[in-house]
Each structure stands twice: as structure tokens, then as C-alpha cells.
Amino acid sequence: MKNFFNSITLSFIILILAGFGNTSQAQLILDCESGNRAIEQGNCWVFGAVTYVNTGVINGSWSTRSNSLSNPSPTASWIKTPWMLPGTGNVTFQTKLTANNGSTRGVRLFYIPYDPSNAPNYEGTPVEFYDWDWPTLNTNTYTITAPLPAEIENSTDPFRIRVSFVGTGGNSRAIGDDYVFPGTYWSDPANGCVPLSTGITDTDGDGVADEDDDYPTDPYRAYNNFFPAQNAYGTVAFEDNWPSRGDYDFNDVVVNYHLNRVTNAQNQIVEVLGTFIMRASGASFRNGFGFQMDGITPNKIIEASGFHVSPESIITYASNGLEANQNFANCIVFDNFYKAMSHPGSGTGINTDKSAPFVPYVTLNVTLKFLENGVPAAGGVVNLTELPATAFNFYIFIKQDRGREVHLADRMPTSLVNTALFGTGDDDTNPGTGKYFKTSNNLPWGIDIIQGFDYPIEKAPISEAYLHFVEWAESSGAAYPDWYSNNPGYRDASKIY
């Protein structure tokens, strides 16, 4: 019997649900074979001065062992079941003493009613329903059989059963094993082991309680997964002179981003909602901006929409709105900054020269649809673990030359990059070592500030606008991790737009 229990995953407690036949009924079983009392505690068993031992056991590899039974109090050494709905029949277990010393030894069984007014354990007053004493003090193994009292049999109210070991004199302990309690497990390990609740509201029936469901009336959606955060935007800022190094004002393309991966109750991606705010382009080049979802094949997206396409776009779009001829899904958010935002008429670029008029930011709301009423694209579903925030790989492509794309440091290029540009100019990309879009001194062409970023004005190197930027970079981010903040002494405001 013990080997059978050990062969299934939940060897320590087995819930035999009614329905196997007319004679079967649910039971809670404690055989200790997990060897780790904490697992049982996690499942709402409670132990009072009772441990697990693997020497002198009754059956299998592990048994329970009480304290030295020199205390007649039933609250000195005990085991309590999780909350259960009692069935009918007998509580059974085996027990023996570790030695034949002492005056008296015995076991006492109690049921504990549920008392909703007695937080946090909600236990009412224990009621003793069975007692048994060792006839003589010896080390023989006894099987205890205690009928459940009629007053709790088949109750629809939850109860706990407490097995107490008692005694006087000596120091012998009680070993116990193979405890069986007739009844249905009714504890909630996720909620402090209170009795299971049947009052959870789940309006859309998707298996996520309304109070946790970001879409409580939509069975196809359950959660928002924001990046960088619900009410925050990150900023990516690029230099556009790749493969030559630029002036490091990091304002040639400046975009704020906010992503929301909407998932369903199965943690599958339903849609990605991207909000992109075009802020500045201190460039004379006409640049585009997009992102790749690393590892996600294009056939897993039903439809992409909301991006800006110029009339004379150089981009080739697939039927689902993604860029064609890519191994991984690529969304071109805008193909030409200057077509989505207008030059103010003076200054080099847009929103990088304080003397030029401010051009209102343009917001693009991009939607990538993965599931339509629960049905995926031809490529199948995408789980949230397959699309972590790290999968979003932002880049620009320069001067309407699609192959001249530049990504954040060490992010992989897309299928359409012109690899002939690798290693030219100041670029020191080495795909063999995973080094991408960095100079020989490991300087980047793009930076990502998930807290958001006030970018420098035209021709002002970021190291002059942010006075601790170099220390941050030189220390690999250890020094001044908040270099972008507006703390005293951190900025030269005259060099920030």
C-alpha cells in the first residue's frame, strides 16, 4: 500500500474523490513520505511538537515522532489536519513508543469546528471524540481505529481533526504513520489555509477571479503586462551616423515607448498594444524606427496596425502588416520620421533646437493581434514566457536605406540588415562573439532609459548634458545609476532640450 502511495506525485496526501464506485470516498492521508514536513505544512497540516523522523519508523522511510510524552495536556504534542469536509467511517493510524519507559501514554482525538469570527485560524473550541491508552508500556505497533462522531459525519461545514499524544513520566515518544482521515480536503494553501471559498466571482468564467482580472467581463482577456510600467514610458535614443560614430547627442531619433502584452487566462498573448511617442529627430537623415520581437515568427501574428506608412515607403509589408521577408516578427512603427512629423522651418532637426518652434509630439498606437476570439494565427499561440519584455528589440534604419539599421548595444540585427556594413567605419560588430552595434571601445549608437529621458540639444554630447553619464558608463552602470535624474549637480540644463 505504501509503495502505491509513493508512486504518485502527491504521495503525502491523497485525495480520492468520490466517483470511483459506490464504495469509494475521499480521504486525507498523511504517510510522511515526502520526508519534508514543510511540504505538508504548505498543504495546511499543522504540527505541534511533532517532527518527521527516518529512524525507528513504522512504515516506509519516514514517520512522525512526538515530543517526550511526559505531559498529559492534549495541546503539548499533536497533529492537525487541514480543513476538511468530514465523510463517514474511521480515522486510522499506526503508532508505537520509542521505549517502554514512563507512567502512562495515550492518544486523544478532537474535531475542531470552523469559527468565522476567530481570525486568523478560524478554529472553534476542540471537541474530544476518542481516547486510547497504551495497555502496557511497550514498543509494539498498534493500529488505532476511531469512528468519526455522528455529529460531524458528512457535514457541509469544514472541520479539522487533531491527533494528540499524551503521557506522564519517562521520556519515551510516540511514533506515528499512515494517518487516514475520511473526508474531502477543504483548505486553501494559497490563502493562509483558510477553508476553501465557494464565493469567488468570475463573471466571464475564464478561471480568473474578477478581483484579479483586468478584463472581468471578457473571457478572451485576463491580464495586462506593462513595460516598463503601467503609467510610465521608456525612452530609446539613437545616433544615426552608423557605422561611423556620431556626435553623441543621442537625439537623432528619440522615441518614448510603452508596451502592454495582454494575455488570457492561459497566459497566452492576445495582443500587444504599443504606444510610441515621436519626440525628436536631430538629424538631417530621414530615418525610420521599428522593433523586432526576437524569437517570434511572423506567422504568429494575425494582424499589425497603427503604424505610420509614408506614401513612397521603402518598406515591403506582408499581408498581416508586419515587414515582409523577416525571420522574426518586425513592426515598422514609422518608416520616415519627417513624414510623420513636420520640420518646424528652422533649425537642423525637429525638437532639438531650442530656438526653433516646438513641434507637437506624434503618438502612434500600434496593435499586434495574436488571438482573435481565442483563435491564433496559423503559426499558433505565443505564451507570455516566449515574449518577455527582453524580446522587444528596438532599432532605427538610416537615411531610407533599409539595410543600414542600428540597434541598441548587442541586440541582434534583423534579417534585412546589410551585413557588409559590419566592421566598417567605427563599427566593431562581431556576430561570432555576440557583439553588435558597438565601437572598438564598446560605445553604442543607441541607449535605452526605461525611466524616460530628457534628451540633449543639437550637438551637445550627452556627457556634457548629463554630468555623471561617463562615470555611469565607465562603471558599467554601478556608479550613478540615476544619472538621468534631475538631481542637483546631475545636469547642465542649458544642454538639454
Binding site: 505541534g48 486553501d188 554630447p461
Partner: protein, 130 residues
């Protein structure tokens, strides 16, 4: 007077050289990006990627609830419908200056330090050794 001048010059020379170790010239912090040589592993971002490991608890019945992970700033950065018995791992991005993460699941509310870009949580309780 001559003695005093000689003594003063000697003292000045002593203090001027006392703190300099033989043959070691301190490297000045570069002031511009052009002077800078960054580490090859530096990613030029103000965030960090943390791999979160959650150890499940073998349960008697399937126990499902919402598992949410919070950055140190209190923002939810990951949210799933989770079965308590499952071991899972996933990656989140949080500000680089965060040194811990918080996770909730039902009434569980746990914190874990971030160490080597990793945070660990477990539903198996610490044995209270009653």
C-alpha cells in the same frame, strides 16, 4: 634663515610625494565619451534583466491564482494565472537600481533580493519546527 628655508622645502617635498605609490599613476576618469572605453558586457541601459525562479508546492488539489511580480518601485512587471504546484521561471526588466523584487499569489506576499540578476521565490514554507 637658510636652515629654515631648507627645512620648509624638505617638508613640502615630503608631503608632495608621500601619497604617490612608486610607479603607479592613477587613471583619471574620462570626461568625454571619446576618452571612454566601456566594458564589453555593458548594455547601455538603465534597466536590468532579472530571471525569476518560483518553486512550486505539490498540492492536493489544483490551486490556481494570480501571480504578480512587482519592481521595487511598486510597479507590476509580470502577471500570470499560475498553478501553485508548478515550478516556473521567467524574465523581467526592472530599473537597474532595484535590489529586490516582490511577488504576490493569493495571500502570499514575498520579497526576494536580486542577486546575480536572479530572484528566487518558493511556496514551500520554512519549517517552523514547532
Amino acid at each position: 634663515m637658510k636652515k629654515l628655508t631648507f627645512f620648509s622645502l624638505s617638508l613640502l617635498l615630503f608631503f608632495a610625494t608621500a601619497c604617490k605609490k612608486d610607479g603607479i599613476t592613477p587613471t583619471p576618469t574620462p570626461k568625454t565619451l571619446n576618452d571612454l572605453k566601456a566594458s564589453e558586457s555593458f548594455k547601455w541601459t538603465t534597466s536590468q534583466t532579472v530571471e525569476v525562479f518560483v518553486t512550486g508546492l505539490p498540492t492536493v488539489i489544483p490551486v490556481k491564482s494570480t501571480l504578480a511580480v512587482y519592481s521595487q518601485d511598486g510597479d507590476v512587471v509580470y502577471k500570470i494565472n499560475h498553478t501553485m504546484s508548478q515550478d516556473i521561471s521567467f524574465k523581467v526588466i526592472v530599473p537597474a537600481k532595484n535590489n529586490s523584487l516582490r511577488m504576490t499569489f493569493g495571500s502570499f506576499d514575498m520579497n526576494s533580493p536580486i542577486s546575480d540578476q536572479r530572484a528566487d521565490f518558493s511556496f514551500i514554507p520554512v519549517d517552523d519546527n514547532q
